[in-house]
């Protein structure tokens, strides 16, 4: 059957695959035929993801991307890949007045420095094939909108989007593509993101009306975007922010 979205024959690295969007992307990509290399900090949860993968030939590399040794170790162990999805990230909620160096260091290190330096490492060690696809999970927060308490988080995601454009330009020469996905709210993150500021019920009532499609996102919604950007269906797509937000940014 004609299927331009197939990932058959492609080897894909996913960071942050031990939970949430990263896990969802790893699972869905394996269903599309990809051979997955999944990475994360927590070995036990990585194995849970691994057990959900379809097909065979997948591998696990446990690595802590918050330090250079972790990034180097992942690059070293990584096989030759056709694509990478950078999902590892942390949300931090803090009002502007109370943002401190410590918080900034932590969130920028995980959300921005790690994916950027992992990309450098993969390119330098020639682990990415020509015509590869690099995908960063950014957010509508920072790229399109923001909210109370999200300034520091938005800053990291906006930075990622800017970086992706520069990298897209540079890597286009070898036919490689670099894009971001900007998800709206996916409930795996609700409580951490909101710092439990509102009860879940309050949150649902106070923000649901901002989603014209009348629901929050699922990890599958985001994974389908990743499949598109990793597949040959998006061969002429580079440097974009793919917004998957149920219409939130229409407001």
């Amino acid at each position: 059957m004609f299927n331009p979205f197939s990932l058959e024959g492609k080897c894909i690295l996913v960071t942050g695959a031990s939970s949430g969007i990263g896990r969802g992307i790893a699972v869905q990509c394996s269903k599309m035929g990809a051979q997955m290399v999944i990475t994360g900090r927590n070995s036990e949860r990585l194995h849970e993801t691994f057990s959900q993968l379809s097909g065979e030939g997948h591998s696990i590399i446990c690595a802590d991307l918050s330090c250079q040794e972790g990034i180097d170790s992942l690059v070293e162990q990584c096989p030759l890949i056709h694509g990478v999805v950078h999902c590892a990230g942390i949300p931090k909620i803090c009002d502007v007045k109370h943002i401190k160096r410590e918080l900034l260091n932590e969130i920028i290190n995980i959300n921005e420095i790690a994916p950027v330096l992992l990309t450098s490492g993969l390119l330098k060690k020639k682990k990415l094939k020509k015509k590869c696809s690099i995908v960063f999970i950014a957010s509508i927060s920072g790229v399109c909108v923001s909210n109370v308490g999200e300034a520091a988080y938005s800053a990291t995601k906006g930075a990622l989007s800017g970086y992706a454009k520069g990298a897209a330009f540079e890597l286009a020469a070898q036919g490689s593509r670099v894009n971001t996905i900007c998800p709206g709210l996916v409930p795996t993150e609700i409580l951490t993101l909101s710092n439990d500021l509102f009860s879940e019920k309050q949150l649902m009532e106070s923000t649901m009306y901002k989603y014209p499609l009348n629901r929050y996102g699922t990890v599958e919604d985001i994974a389908n975007g990743a499949i598109y950007l990793l597949s040959d269906a998006s061969s002429w797509v580079t440097g974009i922010n793919l917004i998957i937000d149920g219409g939130y940014t229409l407001n």
Binding site: C94, D95, H98, V148, G149, S194, N195, L197, F198, S199
Partner: protein, 75 residues
């Protein structure tokens, strides 16, 4: 930290509410200026000044500033 100091720190997170409004028995959620931003500021203030982590649901379950102070002391 003493209750009086806690009340001063609590009051300092507000921009438009006069300082003398803040008392031990102030029902903080009834203040006009109480919203998601001031709630977040209080969470940060408690973290900064008392080294304790409180959540939104803690803020919801306490009523007065003194209730909140006593709750933080139990952490």
């Amino acid at each position: 930290m003493l209750l009086d100091e806690f009340i001063s720190s609590f009051a300092a997170e507000f921009n438009d509410t006069p300082v003398d409004v803040f008392k031990a028995d102030t029902d903080y959620k009834s203040l006009d200026e109480w919203n998601s931003l001031t709630a977040l500021s209080i969470i940060s203030m408690v973290d900064d000044e008392m080294g304790k982590t409180i959540t939104g649901s803690n803020l919801r379950s306490c009523k007065t500033i003194e209730d909140l102070f006593n709750f933080v002391l139990t952490l």
